[in-house]
């Protein structure tokens, strides 16, 4: 059974703050989401930040379309989801993200990838297909395993999404999944 070490829980809190600060610094002011296990500590931080709007969705497919609409309306939007959400939302990522050409930052808990510290038989299959699916959708991505230069990496991702007029995925694993 997985148990949370108090020290690592504290570390996660610090990383969560850093992640949310990175999103803010990159101009993200709108986040639609479905919660998951690895990064969920960012949710109350975003919710309590008056500079960011947090919108719950019922499906990742919907979260992507809501973010696309918000972007067209002048927001700098992100979608926070588990990597399984990539499979669920691949249709809306393709048609609103790629075909229509709308930048969206994807903040993804990368379950089941090699750097996932909680990887198990439950997640390994899910993780194995994430990158091939992103590549099939021609969505650029970066795997983040620690908080080093996190702010600038998030800023780079948002800049790339805007330049490409397309979604860009940040996959969080390593220390983010402890």
């Amino acid at each position: 059974m997985y148990s949370v070490d108090p020290a690592s829980a504290e570390m996660k809190e610090e990383l969560a703050r850093k992640l949310v600060q990175g999103l803010k610094s990159a101009g993200i002011d709108f986040v639609s989401y479905l919660p998951e296990t690895r990064l969920s500590q960012i949710l109350p931080l975003i919710r309590d930040d008056p500079a960011m709007e947090l919108i719950p969705a019922s499906s990742e497919q919907e979260a992507v379309t809501i973010a696309a609409g918000a972007t067209l309306g002048g927001k700098q939007a992100a979608v926070y989801m588990e990597n399984t959400g990539i499979y669920v939302s691949s249709y809306s990522l393709l048609v609103t993200g790629k075909q229509l050409g709308v930048p969206i930052l994807l903040v993804i808990g990368y379950l089941g990838g090699v750097p996932d510290q909680r990887n198990s038989f439950l997640y390994a299959t899910i993780g194995k297909h994430t990158i091939p699916v992103l590549e099939a959708l021609e969505i650029e991505y970066r795997i983040l395993e620690d908080g080093e230069k996190l702010e600038s990496k998030i800023r780079d991702a948002v800049r790339a999404a805007n330049a490409q007029r397309a979604p860009y995925a940040l996959l969080f694993a390593g220390e983010f999944s402890e």
């Binding site: 992507v64 809501i66 609409g69 067209l72 309306g73 002048g74 927001k75 700098q76 048609v95």
Partner: protein, 200 residues
């Protein structure tokens, strides 16, 4: 009731509203009746309500309209529960429900031709102002009144299957062209830059 009659009525009421359409005959009919720069003619099913919701949340002072179809809403039923809880006051959804997958060319029936009642589902999901409209007279009152109401509206407009849209030239603007026209219109009318358009 014929969808085209409803759209013609609606088009006559447009001022500065933003209209998002899904992929169906109504996209073609709407683009025929309204060439407004605030039209976003999405060429895909199951996305219009989500995109319209995002617009409505980003621009709470603008009225946003989603024009959708039964087949498209059935693809994205999760929108009902999200709208039922968010209840954006500036959003009106019109679902033109002809009970068939008309684009399939064999008019294969949708679930709404059977036992499914989309307006009842919307109400159960938390959208208080959701109802079925079957007569043009009711569309003129309930449907059109929603344009000035400060409440989320969800109207399932029961229409006969009509192939009139096949007699209308399809819109010539491609998706990217339409997107930029829409975004530039928003920049002009909102007096602010849309971030992703950026600098060259």
């Amino acid at each position: 009731m014929i969808r085209r009659e409803c759209l013609e009525l609606l088009a006559g009421k447009m001022t500065d509203q933003l209209v998002v359409t899904s992929q169906s005959g109504q996209r073609i009919e709407w683009s025929h009746f309204s060439q407004h720069e605030g039209n976003l003619l999405l060429g895909m099913m199951g996305c219009a309500i989500g995109v319209a919701t995002g617009l409505a949340l980003a621009l709470p002072h603008r009225k946003v309209i989603a024009l959708d179809s039964d087949g498209s809403v059935l693809l994205s039923l999760f929108n009902l529960t999200t709208l039922g809880n968010l209840r954006p006051k500036n959003l009106v959804v019109y679902v033109f429900d002809n009970g068939v997958y008309s684009g399939s060319r064999i008019s294969y029936p949708t679930a709404t031709a059977g036992n499914t009642d989309l307006a009842a589902m919307a109400r159960s999901a938390g959208i208080s102002n959701a109802c079925t409209i079957s007569e043009l007279g009711d569309f003129k009152t309930k449907g059109i009144d929603a344009l000035t109401s400060k409440e989320l509206g969800f109207f399932v407009c029961k229409v006969e299957e009509s192939l009139l849209h096949r007699e209308i030239p399809r819109p010539k603007t491609d998706l990217a062209e339409n997107k930029y026209t829409f975004v530039r219109y928003l920049e002009r009318t909102e007096g602010k830059a849309i971030p992703f358009v950026g600098r060259g």
